[in-house]
Symmetry: C2
Subunit: 538 residues, 2 copies
């Protein structure tokens, strides 16, 4: 036997393999599970024997929605995810400016969330000018739906003289009609395009670093939406990069590609190049068409059926007309693609779920596994439709950390208590997988498991509709088996079973035994993909 793990506590998620303490692995496949006594009999001289020292083993975590390239690039950026004020953010930018020492380069800061600041106001252009008037600066909010530029930044982008009544861009404006520096939604592409393009080699390095980071968090598969990097190349750049990394065996973890193809032309090009859900290239696999039906809650761009209670002028914004959504979905569905659509507001959910119904009724397909990413604001009736149409839910429990402070104000208690209701998705038998949505939230599964179970902020002790929580067993299933289900791989991954790939994580605590509020402190000791150790704690 190639590898034997023994003296562990295995939580396999497979009823056929209960109370196991050891596992034998060969060629990446689980060959046997059982007691130490049984499994150690398979030992030979060549066997790599690993003593788990009584630690807890479970299937590798699967992050069913995030933006991998964004995370990878972020490592090179000014990280604002943990700053507590605009002043602190400014200091970090000033440090970066000293490092850059070249006014043609951008100060690119990302991950701020003013909801965590004392002064809960998004800074504007003039605030950023206090940091520098020479360097172009942009600060991207954690949600990814809004960024702020300073005056120099707007100038470089040619947006400084935009006028509210005439602009074709999605910008924010001061009361006097001049730009306040906000770039909304796809308009953010302008400054992304203004950055010097990373070279293929730089991207490779960033991706590999980030994949190794994922492995250190016990993550063995990510489902990532990152075609957005270059919206016009129909995914060719990202696919080339990932395929190269997979074929040269440089990927430590599996990647399932959520393909953001938001225009007919790019989708057609993608399909006519012969791409489809399920195409596999080693550890890299093509996933669903990824669409966006609306924006974010924090930016009030999530599309609601009723106006925001704390912002009655707006219902948020639809990202696509019915006609455009139909055209894209119909084409993908008929070509055999899976579809996953970002929906946060109930109007977006309703639009998308109606459209899934329509394309499926027009051309009934078996086992297509279309899904909705986020599934935040909803009522029971909308939630029931996931079951009725067999639509997958992709949820991010960690969102509660921030959203528990704003949802009641946005939609009122009546809707809020029906929203983010993972308990009921479980009870309905809906396929519900879990994700981090990193870089919106940290690239870490354990805090997600904790929020799924406690619905409580461990720092403040504040809870939110705890009756909608799931059990730790259900939470683990969301980030393992259901993730595998979402990538059509539950028959070969997602549980620890004989005849599946040895994708697993070893933790220093038994998640089924420790108090739920300690889950976020649990350490990852080892991660294995295809029977290969891709992370081991020193």
């Amino acid at each position: 036997m190639e590898t034997i793990l023994y003296n562990g506590v295995f939580y396999t998620l497979d009823e056929a393999y209960q109370s196991c303490s050891a596992m034998a692995i060969k060629n990446g496949v689980i060959i046997a599970l059982g007691s130490d006594e049984e499994i150690l009999q398979l030992k030979s001289e060549e066997t790599n024997l690993i003593n788990l020292e009584g630690k807890f083993v479970l299937p590798g975590f699967i992050d069913s929605h995030m933006h991998f390239l964004g995370v990878a690039q972020q490592a090179d950026l000014v990280d604002l995810t943990s700053v507590k004020s605009f002043e602190e953010a400014s200091e970090k930018c000033i440090e970066k400016i000293k490092e850059l020492n070249d006014t043609s380069k951008w100060v690119f800061a990302t991950g701020f969330n003013q909801d965590y600041w004392e002064n809960k106001v998004i800074p504007t252009r003039k605030d950023l000018d206090k940091i520098s008037e020479e360097y172009p600066i942009v600060m991207r909010r954690a949600c990814g739906h809004v960024s702020v530029c300073n005056t120099k930044g707007l100038e470089v982008l040619g947006l400084l003289h935009e006028v509210e009544s005439e602009t074709k861009y999605e910008l924010g404006f001061y009361e006097d009609g001049t730009p306040n520096g906000f770039l909304l939604e796809t308009t953010q592409g302008l400054y992304l395009n203004a950055q010097p393009e990373p070279t293929f080699e730089e991207l490779q390095r960033m991706i590999i670093n980030c994949a190794n980071y994922a492995a250190s968090k016990g993550i063995t598969e990510i489902q990532t939406d990152d075609f957005i990097m270059n919206l016009e190349d129909a995914g060719k750049g990202m696919m080339k990069l990932y395929k190269f990394l997979a074929s040269t065996d440089q990927l430590p973890i599996r990647i399932y590609q959520q393909c953001s193809l938001r225009e007919e032309e790019t989708l057609d090009e993608f399909l006519s190049n012969g791409n489809c859900t399920g195409d596999e290239y080693g550890l890299y696999k093509i996933g669903p068409l990824k669409l966006m039906a609306d924006g974010s809650l924090g930016a009030h761009t999530a599309w609601m059926r009723k106006p925001y209670m704390n912002d009655p002028e707006t219902c948020g914004a639809s990202n696509m007309t019915d006609e455009k959504m139909y055209t894209l979905m119909k084409r993908a569905h008929d070509a055999g693609m899976q579809i996953a659509t970002h929906c946060i507001g109930d109007a977006a959910l309703e639009q998308t779920i109606n459209m899934y119904d329509r394309i499926q009724k027009e051309n009934p397909r078996v086992d297509c596994r279309h899904g909705i990413v986020h599934c935040q604001i909803m009522d029971k009736e909308l939630q029931d439709r996931f079951k009725k149409q067999n639509v997958l839910a992709y949820v991010q429990p960690i969102f509660l950390k921030s959203d528990m402070n704003i949802v009641d104000d946005c939609v009122g208690e009546e809707i809020a208590k029906q929203s983010y209701n993972w308990r009921r998705f479980c009870d309905l038998g809906v396929h519900q997988s879990g994700g981090s949505d990193c870089p919106v939230e940290p690239f870490d599964i354990l805090p997600n498991l904790e929020y799924a179970v406690t619905r409580t902020n461990p720092d403040t002790g504040k809870s939110w509709y705890k009756e909608n929580a799931v059990t730790i067993q259900e939470a683990i299933k969301m980030f393992t088996y259901e993730g595998a289900y979402a990538s059509f791989s539950e028959n070969v991954r997602g549980t620890l079973s004989v005849g599946k790939y040895a994708d697993l994580v070893v933790l220093d605590e038994n998640l089924l035994e420790i108090p739920a509020e300690q889950i976020h402190n649990v350490d990852v000791l080892m991660t294995m993909v295809n029977g290969k150790i891709v992370f081991k704690k020193n």
Copy 2:
């Protein structure tokens, strides 16, 4: 909507679809499940509305092991399955002789089981000579492992002057060393080959008739081992026939081919023609390599680890050396085939399960779903190995009808109570599907469900180790979901779920509510495959 079924009681086997009374279907796919009120809203002028009148609906039955061509041909043969004595069998043959009126033709009778006769002795050549000395006569036992010829039959086959000590055939002999007319195992091929070959058109007619009969029994998929018809053509004849029927839309039900390829040459030819498990041609799909590790219990050819207690001279017979089994299995496994092996005795089970272990350890493959057909004589340790190696069990509950009378005598109570232990397979979490093994037993699922639950002969009231019975829910799962699992189709069939094919059966009683001993009397009212009605009771 194309078709709506309403006013039914649906047992979907999918926790997401509980308490449904109606279903909408389009293009063969289940589009919606719910209440009458919900589903009838989808009605249009073109809708085929079907009132189920409160009847019980469940996923179509899947028969995971049988011999379809054998059943089809049997309809043209003298049917001895229900005769109660040799005299009655003789009368039926005499009737056939009058019909034939041509001494060059064979009287081919099949399906007898002397265990049900008052005089529980297999007749010999001289008994059959009393029926006719002019016509060649053969009587095949229900198990298919032994047949008896009369003198004229042996003469036509050139076997009359065989001598016990020198023969290369598997024959039975009288004490004086002359043939007693028994043809064992593959030697039966001699008289099969002596029959005039049915034409392609005759075969078509037989198959279609038989498939319609299956549909009338609520069967929507059969998994059939019938390459044996012509052992030397590497399945080409049968595949050609089934593919033709599938491509011309003449198959009312699905066929999953268990490929009996018992020699290296035929297996190699099959593989080098590009065939593999999973190849699909409409309703016809290529299944596992099907091998035979031993014979039958009734004929004492099932291969045991210890001698038969009631026949201490023999342990039965192994059908393959380890070397031959290894060669065939290794080749199939490495080529990506699934494997299913007939094993009745514990020695055969042990040989096969050891070999699965060996080929998997040499070349670990994910999700290969190798299995063992029959799984009769075993102890707990052998049974545990199904779980440990994730091997599928294919069982035939109806076998108890006959075997409950002989197993204790053959192997003793200690082993008998561990054998046919479907309860424990369920408890272990082993994938266990159900089959009829027709024509060995009748082509009918309901009596199988009853035996799985009652382990009691409804005619005699005799039970056998009732503690090894399963629940009706588990029994139904064996003949629906687990059958689909065995043919790699559980994601598109095997439960009634939105986004799966509409393969279903309507019964006139609710299996979950009636006393189990009435199950065999339940009537099939309607059968649907791919949303098309393939049987409806007048």
